[in-house]
């Protein structure tokens, strides 16, 4: 027992049986091929780390294994037997458990109710045995080495606690194949270490695990093998010793960083946006900065550091205090319409927050033209169709049609539609809030190229991101936030993953 705990990662016994084999799994969503023939094998007692950029297809693959999506083609073989038509129930019956990235808990129910969901213990009369349910739940979270009140409402817990409840809930029914989709993204180091201890215990029991993470530093701590996905295909499977950071990143990205981030050299112009003492919401306090013409200013912070509120506060989506000067003049921004009138544009964190899914590119593009205008004013149909044609050609928006609702577009193309919108509305200051969340590698490069284009035309970009690479690749300066305040300002030559993380935590 003690010996195994001391060893950081015990390899699965030689000749361990194959628990799970995927053969040429394909998945197509309308307009996007998320998986293009993925094959991999998972051994009993193995932790296989799955790496890949956002949009590489990791989560899609996990959802297929958990029976939440049906694959378009390919075979899934569990313990030597092919399974077809997996459903969440049959996946569970096969012992496949998925710990979701976006938590699948019911926020209004208690910890105990969530953990025992669907199999609440009952007494002789068929009534729910609450005492027993609470005991079970306390035990389940206790195994993770934490104490969370079983009666607490899940929606009121901290994100890290919710994550632990999610993990406890899946472990509760002893899966033999465990899929962990970024389980540590919200955990502290101590909580992560406890989770790893649990994972090591599961390994001894012969549980096979596919472990998705963005933290390359976790590879030597936990992985037996590393498989890299890119653009819906497996790039390769390597051993942890071979998986140094450079190799992993180049496998994930498929090109050198310079190609990925076409950063133009632009002379800094006059101040475009000056913010002083901006406070908003629960976390953002006293943010001050100056963004110049032709500049890309990054804002970085870990979860809850306040950077999430910056975009909403600047754009009038949220009540805020502080002074905002645009092109040297004081401007009160109380509503998005004010912000648009002042030449601001916002690419929201969640693209669903920006687009009307059932409308085509045209109406989505021209929507901000309606702000600050009378409701009885005429729609500019001709201008709209001209600009749509122009931007479809300029930004290579695909499909290049004007009759398809935008919900059928891929993430990257949706992002381009939103970008085209703000270019057409005459914005000169663009706020990119997590610009590449959920879009594939090719589209990412397009978005960064466009970002470079914009600043070359004299626009200014505020880039709020939690992706270290893209900040290092694109930003002229980065403000690092911690606890709602700016903890450091780093110039382009000072940018590194270590420096950003050090100031953020």
């Amino acid at each position: 027992m003690t010996a195994t705990v001391l060893r950081p990662s015990a390899a699965p016994p030689a000749g361990a049986p194959v628990l799970l084999r995927l053969e040429s799994i394909e998945k197509a969503f309308v307009g996007v091929r998320a998986l293009k023939g993925v094959s991999l094998e998972l051994l009993a007692g193995e932790v296989q780390m799955l790496l890949g950029e956002n949009g590489a297809g990791k989560s899609t693959l996990m959802k297929i294994l958990a029976g939440e999506y049906a694959p378009t083609a390919g075979r899934i073989v569990v313990r030597g037997r092919e399974v077809a038509g997996l459903t969440p129930d049959s996946a569970k019956a096969l012992g496949i458990g998925l710990i979701h990235q976006e938590l699948s808990l019911v926020p209004a129910l208690s910890v105990a109710e969530n953990i025992c969901l669907g199999r609440m213990p009952t007494n002789r009369f068929g009534q729910i045995d609450w005492k027993r349910a609470h005991e079970l739940a306390a035990e389940a979270v206790g195994r993770l080495g934490v104490a969370i009140d079983p009666g607490a409402e899940v929606g009121r817990l901290q994100i890290a606690e919710q994550q632990l409840v999610e993990i406890a809930r899946v472990l509760e029914w002893n899966p033999e194949i465990l899929l962990l989709d970024e389980p540590t993204s919200a955990l502290s180091d101590a909580e992560r270490e406890r989770l790893f201890a649990v994972i090591r215990r599961l390994k001894e029991r012969g549980v096979g695990m596919i472990y998705i993470s963005h933290h390359l530093a976790e590879i030597p701590m936990i992985a037996d093998r590393v498989t890299v996905l890119r653009d819906g295909s497996v790039v390769g499977t390597i051993l942890p010793d071979e998986a140094d950071e450079d190799r992993c990143i180049s496998m994930m990205v498929g090109r050198s960083l310079e190609d990925q981030f076409p950063k133009p050299v632009v002379a800094k112009g006059a101040p475009a946006l000056e913010v002083a003492g901006l406070s908003a919401g629960k976390t953002l306090q006293d943010l001050s900065f100056t963004l110049h013409q032709g500049e890309i200013l990054g804002i970085f912070g870990l979860m809850g550091a306040g950077q999430e509120e910056v975009a909403a506060a600047l754009f009038g989506l949220q009540k805020s205090r502080g002074r905002i000067r645009i092109n040297g003049q004081d401007r009160g921004i109380r509503t998005p319409a004010d912000a648009i009138a002042q030449g601001l544009g916002l690419l929201t964190r969640d693209r669903r927050q920006s687009l009307v899914p059932m409308l085509t590119v045209g109406p989505n593009l021209s929507l901000p033209w309606l702000s600050n205008r009378s409701p009885w004013s005429a729609l500019q149909h001709r201008r709209e169709s001209e600009e749509v044609q122009r931007y479809i050609a300029d930004l290579k928006i695909r499909p290049a049609t004007t009759t398809t609702p935008v919900r059928f577009y891929s993430g990257g193309n949706q992002q381009k539609v939103i970008l085209a919108r703000w270019m057409s509305s005459g914005a000169s200051i663009l706020v990119f809030d997590e610009p590449t969340r959920g879009i594939d590698v090719g589209a990412k490069a397009d978005v960064f190229a466009l970002m470079g284009d914009l600043v070359q035309r004299g626009m200014s970009v505020l880039m709020i991101s939690s992706e270290l690479n893209e900040l290092i690749g694109m930003a002229d300066r980065v403000l690092v936030m911690r606890g709602g305040r700016v903890s450091a300002e780093l110039g382009r030559h000072e940018l590194s993953q270590e420096a950003l993380l050090r100031h953020a935590s």
Binding site: V30, V356, L370, S374, L379
Partner: protein, 348 residues
């Protein structure tokens, strides 16, 4: 060749126009099928007289449905339309039959155009009230209009003292509704009912606003994705209020047309018509969750309901069974519509 074949699987390929037609034309196709069936089932259906009869009967629902469409497109629902119609009708008819005394001044019986304008104004004001309550206090549209529906019926009862207007009393003293109002409800031009012509004009005006004015686009955006509309700088509260005002205005127009047809108004008239207007909108293909649809479909939906009524009467179906058939048809049409939407929108 192979790549050519794989292209249309992405939406927006060659099939889009055909699919579009099917999607938009669905309710119309249903109407044609219904009419063909009834023409074969009974010789009394396909006569010119009966057609005019149907359009006259459908006009009221159609006008209500146009305003209702605006509200439903924003993602809301207006349960108060029938109550607004009744209140507007009562206000106008009371002003036309009893002398108005305000602050000690006797204004006498108001001239017809003024009384009608006040009735329409009451409709708009009721709509504005609905929209304001919803936008200001952020309560669900369903609850807000359920409340105003009840309140406005009460106001109508107070205005009329619970009596039909014109009452026996006022009639005996020579009060009568102006012929223009009666004509609007019961008259016809070249055999075409004037009420149907008004319904068509209202629908075309609605179509024009939705298609060519900023307000129309804002309504689709708010109903399609409220958050996205907000980020694009659209004033959601104002858009909602205006959609409800349009609904209130069309309800008032419908109320006055009903007065013209019945030659009378009362506080409880048009009972249940709010549900019928919602049914017409949904049958017409507008998405009950907002963002998709239009008034022309609602017009067709109202006619479908009218044809169904008329056909069942001609076929001598008992009124008890008529309710069952009507209810089933609403559900079936919407099931069919959902299925078609999945087929056309879901792609592969």
């Amino acid at each position: 060749m192979a790549s050519q074949r794989s292209l249309p699987s992405a939406p927006g390929g060659a099939g889009t126009r055909y699919r579009d037609l099917l999607l938009r034309g669905g309710p119309f196709i249903a109407l044609v099928i219904l009419c063909v069936f009834l023409s074969m089932a009974t010789p009394h259906f396909a006569t010119l007289d009966n057609m005019f009869n149907i359009t006259r009967q459908s006009a009221f629902t159609a006008i209500l449905a146009v305003g209702q469409t605006f509200v439903i497109l924003t993602g809301g629902i207006d349960l108060s339309v029938a109550a607004v119609a009744a209140l507007s009708a009562c206000v106008t008819t009371v002003l036309l039959t009893t002398p108005l005394v305000l602050f000690g001044y006797d204004f006498g019986i108001l001239p017809a155009p003024l009384a009608i304008a006040i009735g329409l104004g009451v409709g708009c004001a009721c709509g504005a009230l609905n929209g304001w309550i919803i936008a200001r206090f952020k309560i669900p549209d369903f609850i807000a209009t359920l409340g105003t529906m009840t309140v406005l019926r009460g106001v109508a009862l107070i205005v009329t003292d619970g009596l039909p207007v014109p009452s026996f009393q006022s009639m005996s003293s020579g009060a009568a509704l102006p012929s223009a109002l009666i004509q609007a409800g019961s008259g016809s031009v070249l055999g075409i009912p004037i009420s149907a012509i008004i319904a068509l004009i209202v629908a075309l005006a609605g179509f024009y606003i939705l298609r060519y004015r900023a307000l129309g686009r804002a309504i689709f955006a708010v109903g399609g994705n409220r958050e996205a509309a907000r980020v694009a700088g659209i004033d959601i509260g104002r858009t909602k209020i205006m959609a409800y005002m349009i609904s209130g205005l069309t309800a008032a127009i419908a109320g006055l047309i009903m007065v013209g047809r019945l030659n009378s108004a009362n506080a409880l008239m048009a009972d249940g018509e709010e549900l019928r207007s919602i049914a017409a909108v949904v049958i017409g293909g507008t998405n009950l969750f907002g963002g998709e649809g239009g008034v022309i479909g609602s017009l067709v939906g109202a006619v479908i309901i009218g044809v169904l009524n008329n056909g069942l009467n001609l076929l001598n179906v008992s009124p008890f069974w008529q309710r069952i058939v009507q209810g089933l048809v609403i559900v079936l049409v919407v099931i069919f519509d959902q299925w078609r939407r999945r087929k056309t929108a879901g792609g592969n």
